[in-house]
Symmetry: C2
DNA sequence: TTCCTTGCAAAACTTTTGCATTAAA
DNA sequence: TTTAATGCAAAAGTTTTGCAAGGAA
């Protein structure tokens, strides 16, 4: 769960700073959730986060996980994805990018922006402008 | 709810034939749901379909609506969309196409295939192939 | 103290399932 | 008659909410 030689404690401190920068009070639970989610680009469900935190001994409620994820998403710290109807996925990579969705395994894989190029896009309807483009490339096992 | 001068009854008959062609027994409820959904390209939720049928006097259960929509989707008669996390939308247009999603009104608008052109796409990961591409262009009110 | 956050339980919502009843072939 | 579809209620899964208790400033 660590990266580039930083200790878990140092990552937690970095996360605290990121929360503060977003105007979010860095409470214990929020820092735990942020540390889990922001340590690397990844896609997690609320349930996975809850389980992971409890497995590591933390006392967290479902309500707090959802409240926190919604707060983070609102402040642009994470992104909520709708790739299958079953549940929400929270993406710690908020840079613009697209996704592969492996329909066999359920896995989500980031597709960097430069890997997709449009030579034509429709004009938005009158009175509207484009707020963003979501692309999901569905994958199946090669036959 | 009618189009091109066809009566409701004629449309229902056409729908019956389409169901039979897909190997689906054209029961009363199924024909009603198909008639509602297939009379024009549109995006409806299960709840909207249930309400609409009941408003027109039909006796239908929630279970049947869901079972029927899942059956139709499985047989390729309609397509299930995941555009917001809140619920599933059922699209009666099964030809390949993309979507505008108006985040202000919640409306879904079809984007025909020729309106989008790629000059670059990522190669699918080894062992997989592309099963389909979903694009949602999010719209907001022009500022 | 005052305000915000948390946990718990319950509620709200969407979707699925079990089972007795009904309709279709 | 035989099989499959329907309705109802209940269950299951995800997400939200109300409220009392706890923590931060």
């Amino acid at each position: 769960m660590e990266s580039q030689g930083f200790s878990g404690e140092q990552i937690a401190t970095q996360c605290e700073r990121r929360l503060s920068d977003c105007g979010i009070r860095p409470t214990g639970q929020r820092v735990r959730i942020a540390t889990l989610l922001l340590c690397a680009p990844q896609h997690l469900s609320a349930e996975q986060i809850l389980e992971s935190l409890r497995a590591s001994g933390a006392r967290v409620s479902k309500a707090t996980v959802y409240n926190t994820l919604n707060l983070f998403a609102e402040r642009g710290l994470i992104r909520q994805l709708s790739v299958d109807g079953s549940r929400a996925w929270f993406d710690s990579n908020v840079d613009a990018h697209y996704h592969f969705h492996d329909t066999t395994t359920g896995a989500l894989i980031d597709v960097p922006i430069p890997d997709v190029e449009f030579s034509r896009l429709p004009a938005p309807p009158a009175g509207t402008e484009v707020a963003g483009i979501d692309i999901v490339i569905r994958l199946r096992k090669k036959s």
